[in-house]
Symmetry: C2
Subunit: 383 residues, 2 copies
């Protein structure tokens, strides 16, 4: 289903020869309208790849005719030449669609610091344009994979319209393990301002709360395109909910496919004085390598949780913090609680609940364990 | 040599049965004066172990008769009972030395969230007191080891006085991989205010610039004791230099012994607008799991360096940053520089130089690579 589930969208995914081998590496998603309203959210990294700089500029107009995405190269840290490559890619898409490059977004993912093979890429754009179809969503989702072991797609039906999406990556919007790219489409009719509001709210509660390894990519991009082809002006709250569901679904798929992970860890912070405090505590705990190793070893090491909480600026008193792992409150009032042998650490899903006893706010950050496989995947080759 | 190299100090290290097996686990360091001036620096973690809370209070008086240290248990997150255990330990030392508990510092290291076996510990204090000697420095350094594979000791001679030290741990003061404990002694004559100034300056440039895994312990403690037994009022600048040399020497020993590391990485930031910027950039790069994996794999992946730099608030322009690895400038002006195949990644020591082109300040942060052995050591058992 993916990005072509909603009316008004065609897509293609082909092997352009950007990657070695014959794997798909180029995707094209085209919005046939009648509306072209669009919004985007980009990496917070100050070192931004050329396609991010380009697409941010394009999105300032609030309209997108198409998105071209490639795996096999991030086109980041490639200087002015890299920006020209992105520009040329958008121009080529505009040419084959007989449209304007100013409404073409570009997304790239792969190794930083290498120029893209532009001849292969531009020929690929021509080929992809010839294969655009209403069934192309799956091939497009396949073409943006890098270390992803599976394609990530999602789809939700609402009252008279649909929301579809595809994503790649094994991390989060910011920070990110690896680049995260995501394209979401809808055939509902909305303004670009509405799309922007909805997209920011949805990503803030989904992709932004994944933190697989605390690293932030130079290329992260999430786009939302509305064709209006269903002819429906949706209820904005309902639409926001659907977009958030698609984002949450894709985020979950990214997490499960995170490089080398054997556990999916939810760090659930409750009793916080503010949502910001809850997010800060959740993120800090989710980034503790020591804790992530302990969870990998199926050790309910709440001492490492408290040591991480103690490095934050959140409102809490050390002797009022409670911690549960998989529902067993093994730390009460900052000290030993229930018997840790009662904690069943065998399931793949592990929930760490931290009660700060400081207020009524909460947030959940999702992460993974730290494994020898993660080290292997990230040391054995460049990515 | 260790802490008993300077005149006026005796020490002992014994097996009290706090750890299982017959390894040494209790150390006692006694200052026989004539001066008792002392200073301490403690973890910045808000979740502080009972011995840290106790010793901070003791040090507010600026005098120390003795330090008692145990491995085999951190006495952190142990509630009011844990604090009473620390208090009882200090009282016991005071009793055997016929002195005041208010001038006895306590340090503990080991698993968080478990009470110490107080009967064994108190009996151990009695035994250790009976074995105090001018040769006891090595045994004391041995007794504070946890996952340390070797004892860490240092010693510098100055004009008419000496500075000695011992440490345990495989990390830094704040944050820290594992608890870092360090006791430094001198037979020079200084006030506690002078010691405090010197110690803060020395630790800020040494232990504080180690960042093996970004985690911060609940127990980190560095103490500096002056006996005045040499009868020398030292030049303060020279004394500060000697203390910093001892700290740097011990910090280097900690880094080399970091859990599961195969590379010692120096992240050298130059051209920064301020020293704070240099430290922030160095620390952020030193904490990138992706980069640490790449270095482990002997991959001079400068893209991961730039991606980490981009997450900081330091003053820099992405297209003016240069990066060298082991002296080869593989990134110039934020893009591809010299041929990366020229970088020799085989040595254990790896230097990453980041030129922000934004000013004249610099700082170096020391870290290690991320290895499967690190994961194994920190997942296979509680610590």
């Amino acid at each position: 289903m993916s990005v072509t589930a909603p009316l008004g969208f065609r897509a293609a995914g082909i092997a352009a020869g950007i990657k070695s081998g014959d794997a798909r590496d180029l995707a094209l998603v085209v919005n046939d309208g009648p509306s072209r309203a669009a919004a985007g959210v980009f990496t917070a990294n100050r070192v931004k790849a050329a396609p991010v700089l380009w697409s941010q500029q394009v999105l300032s107009g609030g309209r997108l005719r198409a998105v071209v995405l490639n795996s096999g190269g991030a086109n980041a840290c490639t200087g002015p030449e890299g920006f020209q490559d992105t520009h040329a890619t958008a121009e080529k898409v505009a040419e084959v669609l007989d449209d304007s490059a100013g409404e073409i977004a570009v997304c790239s993912t792969g190794l930083i610091g290498e120029r893209l093979p532009m001849e292969a890429l531009l020929t690929g754009v021509q080929t992809a344009a010839g294969q655009l179809s209403r069934d192309g969503g799956l091939a497009a989702a396949d073409a943006i994979r890098t270390t992803d072991t599976v394609s990530k797609i999602s789809f939700k039906r609402a009252d008279g319209y649909m929301v579809g999406g595809m994503a790649k990556g094994a991390g989060m919007l910011a920070p990110a393990l690896a680049t995260m790219l995501c394209v979401i489409t809808t055939d509902a009719d909305l303004t670009s301002e509405e799309l922007d509001t909805v997209l920011r709210a949805a990503t803030a509660r989904t992709f932004d709360r994944l933190d697989s390894d605390g690293c932030m990519s130079t290329n992260d991009t999430v786009l939302l395109l509305a064709s209006g082809a269903a002819g429906v002006r949706p209820d904005l709250a309902e639409f926001g909910q659907k977009v958030q569901e698609v984002c949450a679904d894709l985020a979950r798929q990214l997490l499960v496919d995170a490089e080398g992970a054997s556990k999916a860890i939810a760090v659930e912070v409750v009793g916080a004085a503010s949502e910001d405090d809850a997010v800060e505590v959740g993120r800090t705990v989710a980034r503790s390598n020591l804790l992530k190793c302990a969870i990998h070893g199926e050790d309910p090491n709440w001492g490492r949780v408290l040591a991480a909480v103690g490095t934050t600026k959140a409102v809490f008193e050390p002797d009022r913090v409670n911690v549960a792992i998989n529902g067993i409150w093994i730390c009460r009032d900052g000290a030993v609680g229930d018997d840790r042998s009662k904690v069943d650490m065998r399931p793949r899903d592990v929930t760490i609940t931290i009660d700060l006893s400081a207020g009524r706010h909460s947030a959940t950050i999702h992460t993974t364990d730290l494994t020898a496989e993660y080290v292997h995947e990230n040391s054995a080759y460049s990515s």
